[in-house]
């Protein structure tokens, strides 16, 4: 037993790294439990070895085999339709602009639908992004029915034969039943044109344990297919996505790394985990 340098302090540090990254108590307890078991079996002796093992465990928790490509390419001559949802201020509108930027750079044509008809100057903000990245914007009058703006945007996309329609929606907290119903309606109305190819939940990396509840409720209402983890350029680690992946099986597809049009990257589980455990190593 004397070979084992893994004292209580080391285990406390592991736990604190995870808790401090917003992984959450439940997921942390589970991950540390698995790690203890593996450390025992492998006779892991040093804290450095343990760190590497922890990183592996976290990568595994993020299911690296999962498909993280964005369903943004047209199929059967019909534009791909993406719905962008999330709580207030998470980065939805910015992310719509950034995704459009990537698509346009790849030679695709994009329509942005301004289905946030509620927040002050939300449509103008999306229009500014459209101008920046070379996309067309479809908007309705302020206070218009968001579902009808979304419907019109997809219709415009189909008529104009574009490749992708991205629909920006108003921020809403998931405990607001009326607003969540409204979002469900936006999706149902858009589906009159055909299926929505991707519903992206925008999660702010600074979010704590409420992020899991956000993912749960938004998925219940609009069947989220992927997460975009924004503001990862700050000091927050975004560990809540580990809990989201474990509990709900929803993969992170993209990460936001700034406010500029090019500050978007594909999610890389290994890179994410290294940043998560790295700071305290």
């Amino acid at each position: 037993l004397s070979r084992d340098k893994l004292d209580d302090d080391t285990w406390d540090e592991v736990e604190e790294t995870l808790i401090g990254a917003d992984v959450g108590v439940a997921a942390t307890t589970d991950i540390v439990g698995k790690l203890r078991e593996r450390a025992r079996i492998h006779g892991t002796a040093t804290a450095t070895e343990l760190r590497a093992m922890l990183a592996d465990e976290l990568v595994a928790a993020l299911d690296p085999q999962m498909d993280r490509t964005l369903a943004a390419r047209p199929q059967d001559g019909r534009p791909a339709v993406l719905l962008v949802v999330g709580v207030n201020g998470a980065g939805k509108t910015t992310t719509c602009g950034k995704i459009a930027r990537v698509l346009v750079a790849d030679g695709h044509t994009v329509v942005l639908g301004a289905a946030d008809t509620f927040r002050a100057a939300a449509a103008e903000q999306l229009a500014t992004w459209a101008g920046r990245v070379g996309a067309e914007v479809v908007r309705g009058p302020e206070g218009a029915d968001p579902a009808s703006v979304a419907f019109d945007a997809v219709k415009r996309g189909i008529d104009a034969g574009v490749d992708t329609v991205l629909i920006d929606t108003a921020g809403r907290l998931q405990n607001k039943v009326g607003l969540m119903d409204e979002l469900g309606k936006v999706k149902r109305v858009v589906e009159k044109h055909g299926p929505v190819d991707e519903t992206l939940l925008i999660l702010d990396a600074t979010t704590g344990q409420n992020g899991l509840e956000q993912a749960r409720v938004f998925t219940e209402v609009v069947d989220v297919t992927g997460v975009v983890l924004t503001k990862l350029d700050g000091t927050a680690k975004g560990g809540i996505v580990i809990a989201v992946q474990r509990k709900l099986g929803i993969p992170v597809k993209l990460v936001g790394l700034g406010e500029g049009p090019d500050d978007l990257a594909p999610f890389d589980a290994r890179q994410f985990v290294d940043a998560l455990v790295g700071a305290d190593a």
């Binding site: 201020g89 980065g91 907290l173 607001k176």
Partner: protein, 299 residues
């Protein structure tokens, strides 16, 4: 999901002899449950540690009566400590001796600054003040329009000499706004600034320059109640970077437990003054530490 703290503590206290002092083992077991509850409420780890240590001090040897439900008695102690840490009574805004009073808003991207600017303007106007809103976020797309719309709703003038979207110097706008406020006989100036990260040195320097240009009576740090463990790093960065005189918690109409309140209060030592509780301008209240304590404890 999780048992309530009350249920968990009841579990511990069923083993307690009727009417007695808490033993060290009781205190440790209790402290563990409280630590968990606070972590699940997003209170930052170093703050949890400090808080639980203080609590243990107070609980050690405390008289607990079985008849009066020991779990509730301990929760009462925790609740009292939380209220005390969160600031006891609410503090009022500091007004300048020589108007205009200048209130500068600062915080991370998307935390709720611009919305708060509109809310403050509306609230202060209703109290008979003549506020001026200043559009000093010239960076985020259409931040200026957003403030103009909100100013329109509040019936308050918006000083927006620059279009924004990357055009114009926020420091000059802020500086000139004070002169403008004097000319227009405004007694309060509310300066909306761009969202920024704590680690963005250049943007923090800009915040300092805006601050120095307007010499604010209040620098209000606006933080989203959903924030997790990062609350400490961010609050430290704004405290050290631009200085904070008060805190506003936003999006309290959500169902996040809001442990960030405790973290920010612990780190900055500055009072939490207001609660932002919705998207509409009237969704705004002074901060109530007792309600916040109950919320953090899931009561």
């Amino acid at each position: 999901m999780f048992d309530t703290l009350s249920d968990r503590l009841s579990g511990i206290f069923t083993k307690l002899r009727s009417k007695g002092r808490l033993t060290d083992a009781d205190v440790d077991a209790t402290a563990r449950e409280i630590r968990l509850a606070l972590l699940e409420a997003d209170v930052a780890l170093p703050v949890v540690k400090a808080f639980v240590a203080r609590l243990k001090e107070r609980a050690r040897g405390a008289e607990v009566s079985q008849a009066l439900n020991p779990a509730q008695q301990v929760i009462k102690i925790v609740h009292e400590e939380l209220v005390a840490t969160l600031g006891g009574e609410a503090r009022r805004l500091q007004f300048a001796k020589n108007p205009p009073t200048v209130i500068m808003l600062a915080g991370l991207q998307g935390s709720g600054k611009t919305t708060l600017a509109g809310k403050l303007a509306r609230w202060l106007k209703a109290q008979g003040h003549q506020p001026l809103l200043v559009a000093a976020d010239l960076q985020r797309p259409n931040a200026v329009n957003q403030l103009q719309v909100l100013g329109g709703r509040a019936g308050v003038e918006v000083y927006a000499p620059q279009p924004g979207n990357g055009v114009g110097d926020p420091v000059s706008v802020a500086r000139e706004s004070i002169e403008h406020a004097r000319r227009q006989m405004r007694d309060i100036v509310i300066v909306d600034t761009a969202g920024r990260l704590g680690i963005d040195a250049e943007m923090m320097r800009q915040a300092v320059n805006i601050r120095d240009a307007v010499d604010p009576d209040e620098v209000l740090f606006v933080i989203d109640a959903m924030v997790g463990q990062d609350a400490v790093a961010t609050a430290e960065a704004f405290r050290d970077g631009v200085g904070i005189s008060g805190v506003v918690l936003s999006k309290l109409d959500g169902d996040a437990r809001g442990g960030a309140a405790l973290s920010v209060r612990h780190v900055t030592g500055q009072p939490i003054i207001f609660a932002s509780t919705g998207e509409k301008l009237e969704d705004f209240d002074v901060f109530h530490p007792d309600r916040m304590a109950s919320r953090i404890l899931g009561m």
